[in-house]
Amino acid sequence: MATEVVEVEGHIIDSLILAKVLDAILDAGAEYRIVDVEIGRASTDTSRARIEVQGPEDVLATLITELQLHGANRVEDADARLEQSELDGVLPEGFYSTTNLATQVRLAGHWTDVENPEMDCAIVVRDDGPARTAPMHRVRAGDKVVVGLDGVRVQPMERPRGANPFEFMASEVSSEKPKELLVGEVAERIRLAKDAGRKVLAVCGPAVIHTGAGPDLARLVRGGWVDVLFAGNGFATHDIESNVLGTSLGVLLKEGRPVEHGHFNHLRVINEVRRRGSIAAAVEDGYIPGGVMYECVQRDVPFVLGGSVRDDGPLPDVYSDVVEAADAMRAFVPGVRVALMLASTLHAIATGNLLPAGVETFVVDINQAVVTKLADRGSHQALGIVTDAGLFLAILADQLCN
């Protein structure tokens, strides 16, 4: 398989030249990806399109010659252009902005992998190691940052082969498909990931606890099925509240009714954990007798609690600085193969922004709009399941732990 990049310019839309070029690529049995399109606004402005063409080498050679007939010229492979950042946390103007796809940069004539694909970052080239993506705030003055589009290419996602839930589902969001079957598929993907030595990440919103699924999630952590947990102050607080006081936001979970002064409960719990200095300390001294956070501490499952402006307390482990929270989350992303987004919007979106394409993502929420929003994030593999996270986790825990 070879790749070439061609560029065509002119009134390519009105002339149907762009259509012709794309048709020619497909007719030849090759594939294209539009790298960049600039469409002229006024009828007198020209348009320009840069197209990456992929196909077998022999096909490509003839095809490129044909495309040149229509005015599409091969873009000479050039090294990536680098500019040094002048200020900490500020990128050079015109910096290349990444996608979550596997990315390569061309340096001194050779294509090398960029180490940690992440979207909406810059690419920093180092003398003493591979190129890496870096979010804006992590760039330091003097760092060599890739600018422009030259010398960068991305690896489009391969279509998933074989039976898997992404083929199983005709659509990406499934409010009307049999849930037990879907959960079974998710369980299978989790097992495969674990067998391959890869990690499972769970992102949880407080609704997981409110809906009574804390014990099932705790079972999954205890069973070794969750390797990393991302959540916020709310999830951890109500998980602890439900294990210490039996309530979540003051509602007795076993009976489903609020208790008097129940709204004090979560504050009391946060306060006691703060007194002890950390969730781990509160587990060690027995204040927290069980639950998801308990199991994470007991099994050394790392968790990152990202703060938000509405937090009470917060719990001492919560990162109040959201930039630090994101960096903490970033550290645990390498090696993740499966991500479960459970009844969370905020943390799920934040996590989705950090994950490279290719992580199998399952988005579970009772709200179709949230699922659609999260599942529809571009080329990476995401499956949306519209259902109560509680029921989902109950079935998943039964499938994996029994």
Partner: protein
Amino acid sequence: MCPPEHFGVLYEINPWMHREVLVDADRAREQWANLKATLEQAGAEIEVLEAAPDQPDIVFTANAGIVNGRQFVPSRFMHPEREGEVPFDVAWFEQHGFTVDRLPDHVHHEGAGDALPFGNVLLSGYRFRSDAASHAYLSRLTGAAVRSVELADERLYHLDLTFCPLDGRRAIVAPDGWDRYGRRVVEALVPELLVLDGDDALAFCANSVVVGSNVIMPSCPPTVGRQLEAWGFDVAVCDVSEFLKAGGACRCLTLALDVTLGPQGAR
């Protein structure tokens, strides 16, 4: 226009040219003079470029370049045989007060023979003599919206053998000379088409000169004539058989000097 003092078929750069076919120099001069007179009678003013020795095809002034107001973009010929014409064309335009703007040397374009205005658009052919890649440069140099049409028949190797704008709404077309995308582009552009069938196209009926409501044609089949008359045009036929030996007809022998391209509309 440029008189056929040195015209002949001295090389073969299109399917119509055969060196063994001799040009009758007297007849060529007569036909040229007749064309000129017919155009003048129709109301055109003719300016003349002196014929250069060793440039037999310089008579085909349509290929000298693109005229846009007082701007002249000289051609970059596909075949080296015609490259020698360029300095003579450029000199003439410079002497007549035109600014000369050039296309880059890596692209070919053969002037008004391959690019004709219709409304705000400059329709430009490519494949046999002009490159698609030249169109973006042409657009930038002239400010015109250039729409590309791929020519599909080697015998109809210039756009002006397949396309003749008549007025703001109508054109004579030979769609067999284009690929399917080209046909769609022209259909989208021209509200009323006079479509030539294969034979009429090969008789170069589309290679006609329009002066006001007069259409001066190398030949005119009855159906075509009737349609033109119904549209209010007066048809005159000029025999240019000597020039057909080199693959050119009426329009190829002329270059319109009163053309302005660009957003204000082609005139």
